[in-house]
């Protein structure tokens, strides 16, 4: 048995659950291990730490907070350059450049660029392009990305977090914001109508306790009347006598 509120809230919760499930199922682009490339020995704009990543030519260190996020059209391809220059005395063995996108603490998208024959080099660059086309019409908003260099044994040599502000191709024409707006409008309408439930609650509160009307209106049975109907018919009551046999 469902109360009216439960029946009304359930569609909204179902919408919200559906939106979240669609988000979690559609955002992840599977880890693309694209065709291996060779490291380039140029390293423009390497930071003092020896590692740097640029997003369309801009160092991702400049987008280290949500307020300074890159404004990105989610349908456009982003070009990233992973550069390192650790010096001749300290060459590093980089085998993988990785880009991950996080939502609710989970890496919902991972892009890898794997090197063919990783060898210890004092400097180098890896190009990586990323097109979040699978999420372009689904969502927008601020997301944290992590760019990292990986060693052949899988350990992270260096990583940096930065933020992007994804915009839908037609402004707000993404699926998730529209679904959320519909839910908001529906719930505001439900909240505005909640006053009517006061009358409903009063009627329920004023109604007498649930008792059968027949028992409440019938007079209380007396002891003699109560005994008479329940008494089984006997022979002395004047009824037809059962046939007796054998007396011919």
């Amino acid at each position: 048995m469902h109360s009216p509120r439960t029946r009304r809230v359930e569609p909204a919760l179902a919408f919200a659950a559906l939106a979240i499930v669609a988000l979690l199922l559609n955002i992840p682009a599977p880890a693309h291990a694209s065709s291996p490339v060779a490291a380039v020995s140029t390293q423009p704009g390497v930071s003092s730490s020896g590692y740097s990543v640029t997003w369309n030519g801009v160092d991702v260190a400049t987008a280290g907070s949500a307020s300074s996020a890159f404004s990105v059209d989610l349908s456009q391809t982003a070009s990233l350059w992973y550069n390192w220059s650790t010096g001749v005395a300290n060459p590093v063995d980089i085998s993988d450049a990785r880009l991950q996108m996080f939502y609710l603490g989970f890496a919902v998208s991972t892009r890898d660029q794997v090197l063919t024959n990783p060898t210890a080099q004092p400097s180098g660059s890896i190009s990586l392009s990323w097109t979040p086309v699978s999420v372009a019409y689904l969502l927008e908003g601020v997301y944290r990305l992590t760019a990292s260099f990986l060693a052949p044994n899988g350990t992270t040599m260096w990583s940096e977090n930065f933020y992007i502000r994804g915009t839908a191709p037609l402004g707000v024409a993404a699926v998730l914001p529209i679904v959320l707006l519909v839910i908001i409008v529906y719930e505001v309408y439900g909240l505005a109508r909640s006053g009517r439930y006061a009358a409903l609650g009063r009627k329920v509160g004023e109604s007498p306790p649930a008792t059968p009307p027949s028992t409440s209106t019938a007079p209380p049975p007396s002891t003699s009347e109560a005994a008479e109907p329940s008494a089984p018919p006997t022979d002395s009551a004047g009824g037809p006598a059962p046939p007796t046999g054998g007396g011919s």
Binding site: F106, I183, I184, L191, S194, Y197
Partner: protein, 74 residues
């Protein structure tokens, strides 16, 4: 069901949905799990309390208006 509980139910859903919507329009960062859970819980509690108050107030005004209507008919 009372108007207050109905408003609280609407408010809880509104608080949760508003948090996700604010992330979509770029005002919140929900990349990490812990602050996201905090935002959602705060949104649900604040929305529930506010919704209950609004529903209770709307219920009182509805009952007052309804009683006035009944009195004017008689």
């Amino acid at each position: 069901m009372s108007a207050g509980s109905h408003g609280a139910g609407c408010g809880v859903v509104l608080g949760i949905v508003l948090v996700i919507f604010l992330q979509q329009v770029g005002y919140l960062d929900l990349s990490d799990l812990a602050p996201t859970v905090e935002y959602l819980v705060i949104g649900a509690v604040a929305g529930g309390v506010l919704g209950a108050l609004i529903g209770w107030a709307l219920g009182r005004s509805y009952l007052a208006r309804h009683a006035a209507d009944e009195a004017s008919r008689q």
